[in-house]
Amino acid sequence: MASELTVLFRRLRTWAMLLALAAIPILIAAAVKLTSRPATPGRGPLFLDRITQNGLFVAVTALVVSVPLFLPLTVGVVAGDTIAGEASLGTLRYLLLAPAGRVRLLLVKYTGAVVFCAAATATVTTAGALAGVALFPVGPVTLLSGDTIDVGESVVRSLLIAAYITVSLLGLSAIGLMISTFTDVPVGAMAATVVLSVVSQVLDNLPQLDWLHPWLFSHYWLGFADLLRQPISWTSFGDNALLQAGYIAVCGAVAYGKFSTKDVLS
């Protein structure tokens, strides 16, 4: 496992993606700072209008911005690469000959993708917090429910949101892993994963497909606003976790079924 993370994090690509993610909150903060005109509430991403009053909102805004595309993009790259990447390098056969064990390899690969999800959200959150503290005043935060919490409590809430988003990305990671077992072309698996995340969000916005919405893995992606109420409403967190667990189970089973009998010919 440690070795898996070494391979993941000794890769230039991984750092490039994390850096790009870190740039998002920094860009947002800089843009808001440079345009003196206060943002009109209701326009732009959620919470954007609050940044000038309280730097702590930079992180939350950056997360809102990253969830639909940037995070799925990077997660898709990592998850799609899991098996297909090893296959295209040819290292897959040497891992299996070691012997790594096919099931164990799948589990380790998935865990690696999960760690990346956490690292990606943590990067956005941390960079956002730092940029916010550096450029804007920081003070007690007014929640969506109107209550006010102090700075310490708001840090806890930020971490909760990061955790929520990490969980949100687990289903997508499982989908990426599953697709990755079907091909030896990593770019294909990555692209398919990212495209699926976009398709899922599009479908989620079509009112005609109401019945489908609760089953889409991206359905609760923006539901973390519930964590900004007092008292915290945990229902969307729970529903989301349950849905993601379902995706992990189904995609994990398919990936296992495919990979455990696959001829490794690369």
Partner: protein
């Protein structure tokens, strides 16, 4: 060494092993028998199914038919127990280009749950030393040359003491020193009691280092045995250098051989080379010499020529250059 390493046992044994890709059989009912302690040369033209056989033997691909036993245990059922005893190089080396040589070996070693982490650094160092890469250990693999990658692939197979080494074209891309080293390496491995199964199309190399040979052609195993058996199965011919070509031919014919037409001429124009296939049992070279001398033939030169492995190989697998597709 485990108890299964009894002398006389087989390190690799297959029975009617087949593997199809679509309709085409890449491996077609082969019965391999690789004795323990042997150096088994697995020969065959391009596309004859060598690599595919190795993949199936090692559980990378599933066989369509047939049974496989590796080191006395059934594959792929007992894969987890067998593979730690097997060092392999399959279809060329493969590494993470963004990691150093040493880091690559560590990574592959960690993939084996039973490899001791405590001795990992030492084992990686020794393996690199053995293939002459100690100085390039810290270099990223993308900066390695073809031969260096090949050496690193061999080092990976040597990370732990192994009972069986399966090397798919180990000398591919190696310089003459490297090829020599591979031969030495193979010898030292067998001295340590290991079995080496090596696929190659370098016949000279196989002749130099193998004790046993199996020849593949279009998915079938067309010959198998010790190196000498395989050579003996080929033609042997005698050649007589003499000024009395006519008499020599008659003597040879008298022994029941079929002398060929005098071939070329010796150093002096009056001499000719008369040859015949040694195809009759009981007619030994010494009998022939005696008969020639008794027949009054002035024998100026006499030689027995065994067909080379190359001739044997070509006669088994066909002359054609085109890959059987």
């Amino acid at each position: 060494m485990t108890a299964a390493a009894a002398p006389g046992g087989l390190a690799i044994e297959t029975h009617r092993l087949s593997k199809h890709f679509g309709q085409r059989a890449a491996v077609d009912g082969i019965d391999l028998a690789v004795p323990r302690g042997s150096v088994y040369g697995f020969l065959g033209p391009n596309g004859s199914g060598k690599t595919t056989t190795i993949r199936v033997l090692l559980g990378l691909a599933a066989a369509d038919h047939g049974d496989i036993r590796v080191l006395g245990r059934e594959m792929p059922r007992e894969l987890a127990g067998v593979l730690p005893e097997v060092g392999a190089l399959v279809e060329g080396p493969a590494f993470y280009p963004f990691l150093s040589g040493a880091a690559n070996l560590s990574r592959l070693d960690t993939a084996d749950r039973h490899a001791s982490p405590a001795s990992r650094r030492r084992r990686v160092g020794e393996a690199l030393e053995r293939v002459g890469l100690a100085h390039a250990a810290g270099k990223k693999v993308h900066a390695y040359s073809l031969g260096m990658k090949q050496r690193l692939g061999i080092a990976n197979a040597l990370l732990r003491p192994r009972e069986l080494l399966v090397l798919d074209e180990p000398s591919n891309g190696l310089d003459p020193q490297g090829t020599r080293e591979v031969r030495h390496l193979v010898r030292s491995l067998t001295e340590g009691g290991a079995t080496v199964f090596v696929s190659s199309h370098l016949l000279a190399e196989v002749e130099q280092m193998c004790t046993h040979v199996g020849v593949m052609s279009a998915g079938r195993l067309v010959a198998q045995g010790t190196l000498n058996e395989l050579r003996a199965a080929g033609r042997t011919r005698v050649q007589v250098l003499t000024p009395d070509a006519g008499t020599a031919s008659r003597v040879l014919a008298g022994l029941g051989l079929e002398p060929g037409l005098p071939e070329g001429s010796g150093a002096r124009p009056a001499e000719a080379l008369v040859w015949a296939e040694l195809a009759r049992p009981g007619v030994e070279p010494e009998t022939i010499v005696a008969a020639l001398v008794a027949g009054g033939v002035r024998v100026r030169g006499f030689s027995v020529e065994r067909s080379s492995l190359e001739e044997r190989f070509v006669s088994l697998t066909g002359e054609g250059f085109d890959v059987v597709g």
